[in-house]
Every structure is written in structure tokens, then in C-alpha cells.
Symmetry: C2
Subunit: 330 residues, 2 copies
């Protein structure tokens, strides 16, 4: 068993909290031996097994305004989880709750890494037959300055190296054409900033397009948090729609349903590859601690995977590596 401090899991956050969250936390401990501590209302956590609980009597609703909730609800599971990381009682936090409030808790309680202008949410985009693409900012900053994207790229490259074992990540700037002159004024400025920056541990490829997100031509794609969130939700929505259309079509004709039975293994694998639960959640990069942001709809499996990723990122010292990478460029 690992010697790290436990991973703090927000037991109250997510559409299926607390049951599925607690089940996932137990699986991470019981199957993988990862130390976990639950954060939440002990009266509402039915079956924690051997896991300890850090009491927190409030829960920030999924649709609450992030900033004010975090400021007001000091005894919420999210705030207590972030405090546990800050104080060293936990090595990382995992939540499937309100994304904005998760970010705000992490930012306000753990603080930013020195030199980081803004933390960003990095998510993994599946690339069939190849390594996933790191995509950021997936929604932390609806408004960005062009120079922030250079830092997003540095942080994303560290994440690609530690999480996906990509030695020299290839970085692309999301635009609407590959030529340097293409894109909005913001993207053109970001291109200039990225061209001027030094890339000791990664390679700046230039502009990439939306269709490249799922290709093996690029390892890290950076954009502002508005475009990133739109692209991510569009991608998730289209995959879900196509999957549902596929399963619906296969169930309509009796012969088709029979054939679909035979295809069980193939369809299961596709479903797994393209399902967000497989990736273990997004990560908030740039704060002084590991913070994993899981989908609101997370199942026990998603939480189990998120906890695994959290413990790997703690052991790989992602925070120390980002601190070093960002300070090179100060």
C-alpha cells in the first residue's frame, strides 16, 4: 500500500451522491489499496466501510453560484475537502459536484502555484488506437488573455507527460484553419505569444482545428475556457447522440438485435472508449494541490478511476513539476 496521505473524496457532490460516490471510494480502497477519506455529512453516508469521514455538514447544490457558495458555506464538503489538502490531511481532492464551486474551493483554499496567472481545467479526449489528447482550458476561464494560453500549454504538457507518458508533447492552438493568420484576433495574438515562448519540454505545432482533437497528430490542445467548454460539450453530445442512435437502430429489427448480441464485445469496448467515466475526470491545473473534477453524472466506476488518477498524480508530483515548468518562463 502506498504511503501517501488519503485522497479526500467529496461524498456529497454529484447527481448520484452520496451512494455511488461512496461506493466508488470504497472500490478504490478495497480493490487498489488507495487510502481514501470521505468528506461529508456522517449522518447521510450510509455505508462507509473502513473509510474515515471528515465531517462537513453542508453541501453546495449542483446549480449554486460558485463564488458566493464557497464564501458562505464554510462547512460544505467541497470547502472541507480543499482545506484537508491545504493542511496536509489529504493529498488530493476528488469531486463530482458543482464544477465552478470545486474550482473556487481549490483556488481559495489551496491557492495558486506561484507564477500561474490562472488555473485551467485539463480534460482528456479519447483518440481511438492512440494516446488521448489533453485539452485545456475546458471551462475554468470564460475570458482569457492571450498570454495565459502559453501557460496552459506548459501545464498541459506536464500533465501529458505525467498522466499519459508522452515524452515531448506536441502542442496545438485551437483555431479555424492551420495557417498562422487564421482565427479570431484573440487567437492570432495567442499564436504570437506561443511562437515567442520557449518550449524546452514540448513542441509547438501551430494551429490545429476541432477535428484534430480526436486525432493522433497532437498531444495537447489549448484554447480559452469558453471555446474549450463549447467544444467539449459539443463533442460529448455528438458522441452520446451517435451512440444512442446506434443502440436504438440495433434494437428495432429482430435480426439486427440478434446480430448486435454477437457484437457485444465490440460495442462494449466502443462504449467504454468513448464514455467519459473511463477517463477519471478532468484535472484543475495550476493550484497548489491535486484537484480532480469528475462529471456530475459520475458512477462508482468513474469515482474509482478518478481516485486512481488522483493518487497517480500525487505520486508523480504534478504540482512540483508544474511549479518548475512555469518558473522556467518567469
Amino acid at each position: 500500500m502506498s504511503q501517501l496521505s488519503p485522497i479526500a473524496v467529496d461524498a456529497m457532490g454529484g447527481d448520484k451522491a452520496p451512494e455511488e460516490i461512496v461506493a466508488g471510494a470504497r472500490q478504490a480502497f478495497e480493490k487498489h489499496g488507495i487510502p481514501v477519506v470521505l468528506v461529508g455529512d456522517p449522518g447521510k453516508i450510509q455505508d462507509p466501510g473502513e473509510l474515515d469521514i471528515i465531517p462537513a455538514m453542508e453541501a453546495i447544490p449542483m446549480d449554486a453560484e460558485p463564488g458566493s457558495s464557497v464564501r458562505k458555506m464554510k462547512d460544505s464538503s467541497l470547502v472541507r475537502a480543499a482545506e484537508a489538502v491545504r493542511d496536509g490531511r489529504a493529498s488530493a481532492m476528488v469531486s463530482a459536484g458543482n464544477t465552478g464551486a470545486t474550482m473556487a474551493s481549490a483556488l481559495l483554499r489551496m491557492g495558486r502555484i506561484k507564477g500561474v496567472a490562472r488555473p485551467a481545467i485539463a480534460t482528456l479526449i479519447p483518440t481511438p488506437g492512440s494516446t488521448s489528447t489533453v485539452f485545456l482550458d475546458a471551462g475554468a476561464n470564460a475570458e482569457c488573455r492571450p498570454e495565459w494560453l502559453v501557460q496552459f500549454a506548459k501545464m498541459g504538457s506536464v500533465f501529458a507527460r505525467l498522466r499519459l507518458n508522452v515524452e515531448q508533447p506536441r502542442v496545438g492552438l485551437l483555431s479555424i484553419g492551420e495557417e498562422p493568420g487564421k482565427g479570431s484576433p484573440f487567437v492570432k495574438e495567442a499564436y504570437e505569444e506561443m511562437s515567442k515562448a520557449s518550449w524546452p519540454d514540448s513542441t509547438f505545432l501551430g494551429n490545429v482545428e476541432g477535428r484534430d482533437l480526436m486525432s493522433d497528430q497532437v498531444d495537447v490542445v489549448v484554447t480559452d475556457g469558453f471555446t474549450g467548454n463549447v467544444a467539449l460539450k459539443t463533442l460529448e453530445g455528438s458522441l452520446k447522440t451517435l451512440m444512442m442512435a446506434l443502440f436504438t437502430a440495433l434494437g428495432e429489427r429482430p435480426e439486427a438485435a440478434e446480430a448486435a448480441q454477437v457484437l457485444g464485445p465490440e460495442l462494449d469496448e466502443l462504449y467504454t472508449v468513448f464514455h467519459p467515466d473511463s477517463y477519471g475526470g478532468a484535472m484543475l491545473l495550476g493550484v497548489k494541490g491535486v484537484c480532480i473534477i469528475s462529471h456530475g453524472s459520475s458512477s462508482a466506476l468513474a469515482i474509482e478511476n478518478a481516485i486512481k488518477v488522483a493518487s497517480e498524480m500525487v505520486e508523480a508530483d504534478v504540482v512540483g513539476n508544474i511549479t518548475a515548468s512555469v518558473s522556467e518562463n518567469l
Copy 2:
């Protein structure tokens, strides 16, 4: 046979020009009786059948800079096609060539509809089991002013009504959260403008998200041309990636390949529903003429469909309807 002037088809534009383009043009005429005139170099058009040719000895390359190409290459197929519409020798233009140059030709030769600030590209997003979603701007304007989005919505609503028979289109503003306060500063301003506008023939729903593009909850989604192009390419890329992963998976195991054979009709239908060739291309809204912009990779079928859409839009008087809709708000 319809009495409309012929549809001018750019025979030289597209990855598969001129062969597939000419084949598609002939199919539209021979199967559907739609009058078509080809525009291009007569020496390079092998087999025009009964179709007339408007000679144009230059062709703007797919990757050429749009503005300067259109200004310099006055005898290009794109410029000649747009002139034919302007002069009444054709009722519409269709091109699978350089998108930027198609827009520039249409804008410079046909001109803007009075009161339209900027033309926008409207594209259709498939919604399985329901009416497609009209999505604009898909890339005409990389930088927009918030108030332009009100006009995009008006034009898109006319398109939804005439093209898809949606009586009272429901309009959404693409953002990263449904609440009015969500999004970039640009989107917040656009939200204000749209809230203040009057909607005699459509309904403004408020913000929608990327995952709603393929849903039946909204008929017209507006955004700036940068975000729109990123979202569209992300959506197309993800559908293509998933389709390819599916077909690859179904070919690997002999039993799976057999079962996949049985599923032929279902898989074919999915492929058709989600393939851009089925929709007949995007349309440039706001210019004084019908201009259909097809995918660069268009097959003969895609061109045939694009010509059908062009003739329907001419007969429905989309230009007159947009003129009326925009003037209501002057």
C-alpha cells in the same frame, strides 16, 4: 420542369472537381429536372451532357487567400458564378471550392441584403429522429459584434422556416451554461441584445450548450463564426472518428464481421444520417442571392443534394424573406 433560371455550379471547386461536381450537376438535371449551368473551363469539363457551360478560365485553389484571389482572378469559376447570379443569368450558385473565396465572391459580386450587417454561414446539424438544427455562424465572421447575433438569429429562423418547415423556430444562444449570466463577456452582451429584440416569427429561448446542437430542444443556434467553426469541426470530427472506430471494430473478428453484414441496413442509415453529404451543404445567408457552400470533399450525391436545396431556396424566395425579416428590425 421548374421555370427558374438555372443553378450555376462551380465545376472547378472541390477536392473531386471537376468529375464528381459535373456528375452531381447532371444528376440534378437528369433525375430532378432542375435547370443547371456549369461554370468552368470547357476544356476541362469532359462530359457535360446537355448542360450549358459559362466559360471561366481560372480556378481559385482550395488553400488560396480568399480576398486577394477573388480580386485578382476575375475570370475564375467562383467569380463568374457569382456574376451570373447578380446578372440574372442564374438563380443561385453552388460551390464545393474554397469556402472563404466562395463567400468573398458572393459578397463582392451579389452584395449584401439592405440592413444586413454581415452575412453568415448557416449549416444543418443532424438530430436523429427529429428536424435538424440550423447552426450559424459556422465560420463567415471570425470576429463578431454582439448585435450581429440578433440578425443571425433572424436569418437563421427564416432558413429554418423555409428549409425545414419549422413554423415558429426556437432560437438559442450558444454558451457554457443555461443561466443568462453564463458565458464570455461577448456572449453576455449578445444575450442582452437578444433579450431586447422583438421576435415576431420565432422564440428566443436563452442560452443553450454544445450538447444541445443535436437535440430536439432548439431549432436555431447562433454563435460567432470562430466558436461556430470550432464547434462544427469538432462535431464532424467526433462523428467521423466514432464511425471509423465502429467500422474498424466490426471488421476485426470473423463472427463480428458476419454480424455486421446483417446490420447493413441499420449501419447504412446511420452513416447517411450523420454524413455531411446528406444535407446539401451550408448556405450563406444575407447576400442578394442564393449561395450554397458544399464540403470540399463533396461527392456527386452531395452536389446533387446541394442543387436541390438551392432550387428549393430560390422557389421559397429566401432572399426576399430575409430582406423582410431584417427590415422589421431596422
